[in-house]
């Protein structure tokens, strides 16, 4: 019964072939450092799911942002858990993505024919840091407020365009409700969309080229 059902689906969707192409790929000799990309992907999905859950109660308004976080932490069942996972997952993701980059650098995996994978990966690293920067403001407490004052000020020190970047980031000259709102929009819409696209391209290239071997003595 089930077999007939799956065969019927497979005939139309071809997921058996997808399974072989995506998950039954030949791998070089097992190496735990090669799992960091998958770990980054899992963390991205985890952040996505816990983030969606948090928006069920969070509100990005200066009047209520902090109160809504307090509500999540103290009143909502398992709210402390969902926010805790999102909070620590964010830190862990920056760490894992960075070590993933180091591994690719050390194992020289960025060389031909994987240059584009590397460049897209750099984009993903920057997007991950952008997620950390925008997400840090959302609790709207003293620490996040002043961290964003300082962070946007640093961006403002760029020559010539600094002033404009500062105003674009803050949505004006001051840190305000506009800043919180645009950081929220960037955090939950813009960057996730960008990252999903980049991850898709990244994974496609990995499947196309396969995993790189670690360099041998003659390489």
């Amino acid at each position: 019964m089930w077999k007939r059902f799956f065969d019927w689906l497979d005939e139309r969707l071809g997921f058996n072939g997808m399974y072989k192409a995506l998950l039954d790929r030949p791998e070089p000799r097992g190496n735990w450092w090669n799992t960091l990309g998958s770990a980054s992907l899992v963390l991205f999905l985890l952040q996505g799911i816990t983030g969606i859950f948090l928006t069920m109660y969070y509100t990005p308004s200066p009047d209520h942002a902090y109160d809504s976080i307090t509500y999540i932490m103290n009143d909502v069942a398992f709210g402390w858990l969902v926010r805790g996972v999102h909070h620590w997952g964010a830190t862990l993701m920056v760490l894992v993505v960075f070590i993933h980059m180091l591994r690719v650098f050390v194992s020289a995996s960025f060389k031909y024919p994987r240059e584009l994978t590397w460049i897209i990966g750099v984009g993903l690293l920057l997007a991950t840091l952008g997620m950390g920067f925008t997400g840090y403001l959302l609790p709207w407490n003293q620490r996040s407020y002043w961290a964003t004052v300082v962070g946007t000020q640093i961006a403002g020190t760029a020559p010539l365009v600094g002033e404009f970047i500062l105003r674009a980031l803050r949505g004006g000259t001051d840190l305000s409700a506009l800043t919180l709102q645009r950081f929220f929009a960037i955090h939950i819409w813009v960057l996730p969309a960008v990252m999903t696209a980049l991850i898709g391209a990244h994974l496609y290239l990995i499947i196309r080229h396969g995993e790189s071997h670690w360099p041998k003595q003659n390489d």
Partner: protein, 164 residues
Amino acid sequence: MSEPISRRDFMKATVYFVGGLVSAAIGLPSIVYLLDPALRSEAGEAWVPIGKLTDMPEIGKPYPFSFTRVRINGWERTASTHGGFVIRRSEDPNDLLLLNSRCTHLACTVNWKEEEGIFACPCHDAGFDKEGRVTHGPPPRPLDRYENFRITEDGVLEILYKEG
């Protein structure tokens, strides 16, 4: 055990079992998290003063009253206004009828029309008589009543307001 279980089947069963446990451990709290506001019981009651009985001397005349309750919903305080009418049925201070002015059709507020002698709802042209019974229009049942009331030593009429 008629047939020894193969290594492959054992692994399969173990993976399914552990996977099921992990899914339940993550999934159940997730559902509770999402439904949390719906799972709370919002029971709470308070005695609300609505006016001195000496200010409502006439028998058979509806005296309007209203009061505001503040509730904390999540991170916000929400004020809601409630109202009704006090009708003295006799000289006995405890012989009172307290009607809720919320129309039982779609929750508009009804008004007392002296000349017609009915409580009229402006939304869908409904009417209720002095006892709260439907005279015309779409409401499915008579006006609700505040059944629990008391008169304090100072002669203040109070009603028991139940939340939720």
